[in-house]
């Protein structure tokens, strides 16, 4: 598919701030499954800082803005050609050992319920790939998609107890369970083309990646009961949502901030 992305993030500050610094993971990954035709990333009125490819293969760009400002806008426009790789992250160069993704983080601490769910799902599994699929299905079955039920700070354990959540919660739950079963797992963030209108829910999307020996990293999207295909654009990864966040930023002299995000992913006619 040829997908075009338009993504504008606007921060409004209740009082002028002295400046802001941002670290952006907002450039499509280099994999066999996606080829970037054009990509523009800009922080309005900002100065570009260092940019580099990190050990996990993500392209990081940093920006700073001198204040006083009351508004900050991050703009992304681009076109990516995608191919369905059945979820397998092929042709992606990285330096981080998969076992570095076995450590639990704050939102991915396994509680008794997550451990039990993982153990039950794993019962009778034949090999890593089958196990990963079973865990993903278990998460889909137990956490219903319901926006607004959880917040950005909700942990995997809380989401499971609630039985509701959004893609972040699904991914956190799956990551936690996979790690508990000894499979390295991480959080992937990106975009999803969900329907022809382009105004789909969760166009800014997240899913989990699980390491299976012999195959490498494989994406699993329990929120949509599938593995990422050519409707997905991958931006980067991390141990959890915060670590994989497309935007990490700090405003200096921070006032109360509010956030507005507009994302549209459209498919071009071929």
């Amino acid at each position: 598919m040829i997908l075009t992305v338009s993504h504008v993030t606007t921060y409004h500050y209740a009082a002028p701030v002295r400046g802001a610094v941002q670290s952006l993971r907002l450039t499509p990954s280099r994999t066999d499954g996606q080829r970037t035709a054009s990509w523009m990333l800009q922080v309005e009125g900002g100065t570009k800082g260092g940019s580099f490819r990190d050990g996990a293969g993500d392209w990081i760009e940093s920006w700073s803005v001198r204040g006083p400002i009351t508004e900050l806008r991050v703009r992304v426009e681009g076109t990516v050609e995608t191919t369905d790789m059945a979820g397998i992250l092929r042709g992606h160069r990285e330096n981080v050992s998969p076992s570095a993704y076995l450590r639990e983080t704050e939102p991915t601490v396994a509680d008794a319920a997550l451990l039990t769910l993982a153990r039950d799902a794993a019962d009778g599994a034949s090999g890593g790939l089958d196990l990963a699929h079973r865990l993903s299905t278990a998460v889909s079955d137990r956490i219903a998609y319901r926006p607004g039920a959880t917040s950005a700070r909700t942990t995997a354990a809380e989401a499971l107890a609630l039985g509701e959540g959004v893609c972040q919660d699904h991914a956190h739950a799956l990551i936690t369970m996979a790690r508990a079963q000894g499979l390295p797992a991480r959080y992937a963030s990106g975009y999803l083309f969900a329907d022809a209108s382009g105004a789909a829910h969760e166009a800014a999307h997240a899913w989990a990646e699980i390491w299976v020996d012999g195959l490498g990293w494989i994406g699993f999207d329990p929120a949509n009961r599938c593995c990422p295909d050519d409707r997905y654009i991958r931006l980067g990864s991390g141990s959890d949502a915060r670590d994989a966040a497309p935007i990490r930023g700090v405003a200096v002299g921070a006032a109360t901030e509010s956030l507005n995000v507009e994302v549209a992913v459209r498919a071009q006619q071929q």
Binding site: S23, K48, G49, G50, S64, R66, N95, S99, A100
Partner: protein, 471 residues
Amino acid sequence: MAVSYFNEMFEGGRVRAPYARLEDWVAAMPPEFRSMKQEEAEALFRRIGITFAVYGEGGDPDRLIPFDMFPRVFTQAEWRRLEKGIKQRARALNAFLVDVYGRGEIVKAGRIPQHLVYGNEAYEKAVAGFTPSKGVYSHIVGIDIVRTGPDDFYVLEDNCRTPSGVSYMLENREIMMRMFPTLFRENRIEPIDNYSEVLRRTLASVAPKKCDHEPTVVILTPGHFNSAYYEHSFLADLMGVELVEAVDLFVEAGFVWMRTTEGPRKVDVIYRRIDDAFLDPLCFRPDSMLGVPGLMDVYRSGGVTIASAPGAGVADDKAVYTFVPEMVRFYLGEEPILQNVPTWQCGRNEDLNYVLDHLPELVVKEVHGSGGYGMLVGPKATKEQIETFRSKLASDPAGYIAQPTLALSTTPTFVEEGVAPRHVDLRPYCLVGEQIELVPGGLTRVALTEGSLVVNSSQGGGVKDTWVLAE
């Protein structure tokens, strides 16, 4: 259980050569003179302002670390061997860090378990694939060494992040020279006062490639409430560099800048005395107020050098420690000159069983602990303390290691009743940049309580001047 300890001054009733002149010095010192000098030393320390606040102990935050006037002495030959061993270890530790953030050959070769490296809390995947300037991660390696015999030295632990205490090494010498000038004329002692110059040169030598001028070096401190703040400002003074806090720095256009009265000035090398977690809220802890937002992006794109490099802590973890001799063999193809203390990993079942059966004889330490806290010294412990550790070990075995109780050497120390042997250790500071250098000396810590084997300043330890005699 009768244990004999190696006394560094007296051996078989005879005075060992390096201490020969000190025997007369002590003999000729009347008790009144001694206590007068001791008071003078304390006054000097107070005037300089050197204090050491200890976390969690309450009491006087401006407490002095007790200073013992009786120097500890090494011969040139003893020091040469130590120096070779320390430098060898510092090279191996740095090679290990370059490797585990790069290709991970030592793990692939099966010489160290993968989970000890990549599953380690101190392993920073954020810097995987990035090689710091000149391939150095740990620029100041503090190696804690104990002695059990004339030729027997053991490494107790490595400190690859920000080992503290070097200001004591320098001040102890300064004060001894002021109080006993004759002593320094009678003994030919290797100088250590070039430490700050070597440190400055070392830090400047690892400036990033992008730096095309005389590098600007700064020391980054968490602030005056930190227990080692005195040392931060002391070293900045001696090196003639700025002492900054995070608020004094900002990031723009791919570089780090320091606010000065003449406007922003580019910073090339940051000798940081704050932990990884607090360096940059955009990369590590988001709630950190101590850090410089965006610092890690500048670092990872080659705009600034951070010393020690973020992630260096994976080399000085107590569980990784066991494998340092293996690192020496693997990376350098040499046999280790300094020995490790035999260590039981309580995370391993067979080791744990042994440790539980021998608790009264062993020293048990937390893998991530420091400062002598959370430690069991079996032979000195009460039954209750031993039972407490037994349950701690049962609930989190992998969090502990155990070692035999070492017969730490003693050196003569001034005590209430005169002069008596007290146990000591040694922390030399090895500097790694383009060159690898070590000033002849280190910080000797002494357990002032009779019979005590715990030398940590937070546990009632004191310090001594440490001499290396010239040929």
